[in-house]
């Protein structure tokens, strides 16, 4: 390093010594177009984020497929020749189509009481995605609100930290089980039980970040100029946290879908007449001892794994893209 530097140094001085006075200082002249170019750039945060995200082909492709999947779960019941997910289908002589393997009449076969698996899977995916998205949204809203108050209002810090210390000690799953046991099983119960503790991690994280950037010079300057606190929070603090918030939301969705499967397994899930991926997997699980019927477990798990892996990858890619350090 040192050697290289001194070499360049000597060479430069040599060059300068050999130059004429006129070569060293030339006037730039006034150019109106040039003056417009400085002091303004058309940098837009969301544009750059979008550009950075689009560069990740894999994540973008997954996002498109996921969107189509979500759209299809809503369109599917209106397509011609579809069965009702709860209809028990009988043949001409009144006997149920039990455990019919995938084939022409039933694309993915039927389950042990003669319901169409294809219709149940799409209906179940819709339920599970609905649960996942609602939980992620609710957690983000509550978590951001509480986190901002926790970090920004000094008086609130003590009491909220104490509450955090207590709640953090109980395993989340135990609360989930407890609430599901006490309340009647329904989609609302599940969403409520999952949100009850989930927001606190988000709030905690936002609080820590806000504590770090709250008293930076530009925020102090803003406060001195009389900017209202709400504007400082929305304009100065939250944009910093976009990438983290998005990542957490994207990871909450697979976690919520997985929790639904778990809660269904321990017998506190949705009633069977509301198909969900948890219900389908649980029905399929009972049959794993006979290899011919494993398709009833495999199809729902394929969809579920695809959805959760997609959210994981998209979340990570988006969070990378939303970080201004990765913008050019």
């Amino acid at each position: 390093m040192m050697k290289q530097f001194s070499y360049r140094h000597t060479k430069e001085t040599e060059l300068i010594h050999n130059m004429q006075e006129a070569e060293l200082f030339t006037f730039g002249g006034y150019n109106e177009d040039e003056t417009e170019k400085t002091g303004f750039s058309n940098y837009s945060y969301w544009n750059s984020t979008l550009h950075a995200f689009l560069k990740n082909r894999m994540a973008f492709a997954l996002l498109v497929v996921l969107m189509l999947l979500l759209a299809f779960t809503f369109v599917q019941p209106y397509l011609p020749g579809q069965y009702d997910p709860n209809l028990i289908i009988n043949d001409a002589s009144g006997i149920q189509f039990r455990n019919v393997p995938p084939g022409k009449q039933f694309i993915l076969g039927t389950n042990s009481i003669g319901q169409d698996l294809w219709a149940r899977i799409w209906s179940g995916t819709r339920t599970s995605l609905l649960i996942g998205l609602s939980v992620a949204l609710a957690e983000a809203v509550i978590g951001i609100t509480v986190g901002v108050i926790w970090g920004y209002v000094r008086k609130a810090d003590f009491i909220l930290t104490e509450i955090y210390n207590i709640i953090d000690n109980i395993p989340n799953t135990i609360i989930l089980i407890l609430i599901s046991y006490i309340l009647k099983p329904s989609v609302k119960t599940l969403i409520f039980a999952m949100c009850l503790t989930g927001w606190i991690q988000m709030a905690r994280f936002i609080r820590n970040q806000i504590l770090i950037i709250r008293d930076r010079d530009y925020n102090v300057a803003s406060r001195c100029l009389g900017t209202p606190a709400a504007r400082i929070i929305v304009k100065n603090l939250l944009p910093y946290l976009v990438s983290v918030i998005m990542l957490r939301m994207a990871l909450t969705i697979p976690a919520a879908i997985g929790n639904e499967v778990f809660i269904t397994y321990i017998g506190l899930g949705l009633p069977v007449n509301i198909p969900s991926l948890g219900n389908l997997i649980n029905e399929g699980r009972v049959l794993i001892t006979s290899p011919a019927l494993r398709y009833q477990l495999i199809y729902p798990t394929i969809i579920l794994s695809f959805v959760t892996i997609s959210f994981y990858i998209i979340g990570n890619a988006f969070s990378d893209a939303a970080d201004p350090k990765n913008h050019i």
């Binding site: 930290t161 104490e162 955090y164 210390n165 207590i166 953090d168 000690n169 109980i170 395993p171 799953t173 135990i174 089980i177 407890l178 046991y181 006490i182 697979p254 976690a255 879908i257 997985g258 929790n259 499967v261 778990f262 397994y265 321990i266 017998g267 506190l268 948890g278 997997i281 699980r285 794993i288 001892t289 494993r294 477990l297 798990t301 579920l304 794994s305 959760t308 892996i309 959210f311 994981y312 990858i313």
Partner: protein, 313 residues
């Protein structure tokens, strides 16, 4: 040091009291049919008498006092449905050792597999091993445990030629549950150790060690690993809690006669006293796990100031 310890322990104890009270109050909302063996055939009068006998129609504060009095004597109530009229503590006494054994084995396996994995990933960054392991970690974290547990059971039982019924004395039957329970934590340790080691390897003291002419392996394991391991310790309690939760699913899946499997059974049978006992026990385990984690941090890292608040991790 002693002052910090006593403060931290007193704090945990206080937290535990608050949690127990809160959970107890919540559990009062349990459906009442869970208190009786043959609820369907009972008249409203009988139900009322029964509730009164169990002290359930008392005002809430009185119930809480009774509950803590019983708790000190080690009395967690009486199971009515799962086993009729057997104290909950007696039933749990048989089950807890099995769960502890499973938990300890899975902790050992995950530490001994996860740490070397993370270390080698950092050592051979961007090489094949790193890529394969990253893929493994993404899969484990993205696919819900509830799903891959099922497939491990499905194909594992065929592979090891074990039946679906659990034999507690045959070590062969412990392999699959322990592996299933460890996978999540292996990914967890691997991911964080890799990140910390890579962060650490850009620091000046590592450059100095390399400049001195120490071999790559020595720098990695003498210097980097040691420093990267300290922040990892704070995740061990979380990992431990994951293990505890995993055990609910795993034990029930493999019908291991432990606490987690029991919880699933009594939930399905609606036995309130049993659910209450097990949930409270899990709450205690949670508090204890975090306490141990904090104490371990203090012992391992001399840089941590002892006067700090317990919550600031």
């Amino acid at each position: 040091m002693l002052q910090y310890l006593s403060k931290r322990i007193a704090r945990s104890f206080l937290t535990l009291l608050i949690i127990l009270t809160a959970v107890f109050c919540l559990l009062r909302l349990m459906p009442i049919e869970g208190y009786f063996q043959n609820f369907d055939k009972m008249t409203p009068q009988q139900i009322e008498v029964g509730l009164k006998e169990m002290g359930l129609s008392d005002p809430l504060p009185l119930q809480i006092v009774h509950f803590f009095k019983d708790l000190i004597r080690g009395d967690l109530g009486i199971s009515r449905i799962y086993r009729s009229n057997v104290p909950v503590s007696d039933i749990l006494a048989d089950k807890v050792p099995v769960s502890i054994k499973l938990g300890i084995w899975s902790m050992i396996v995950s530490l001994f597999a996860g740490l070397p994995m993370g270390a080698f990933m950092a050592r051979y960054q961007h090489r094949l091993f790193d890529k394969i392991s990253t893929f493994f970690i993404v899969c484990i974290q993205a696919v819900p445990a509830a799903v891959y547990f099922l497939y491990i059971q499905l194909y594992g039982t065929q592979l090891f030629h074990v039946s679906l019924l659990f034999e507690i004395d045959d070590p062969k039957y412990w392999i699959l549950p322990v592996i299933s329970m460890s996978l999540g934590n292996i990914a967890f340790y691997g991911m964080w150790l890799r990140r910390y080691m890579i962060d650490e390897s850009n620091k000046d003291y590592v450059k100095l060690a390399k400049a001195k002419g120490l071999s790559e392996g020595k720098v990695m394991f003498r210097h980097i690993f040691r420093n990267a391991f300290v922040p990892l310790v704070q995740y061990i309690p979380t990992a431990f809690l994951n293990t505890v939760i995993g055990s609910i699913y795993i034990e029930s899946l493999y019908s291991i006669p432990g606490m987690g499997g029991l919880l699933v059974t009594v939930i399905k049978k609606h036995d309130n006293a049993m659910v209450q006992g097990i949930v409270l026990l899990y709450a205690c385990v949670g508090v204890l796990g975090l306490l141990l984690g904090d104490l371990m941090m203090v012992m391992l890292d001399p840089r941590i100031s002892l006067g700090r608040k317990a919550g600031d991790r």
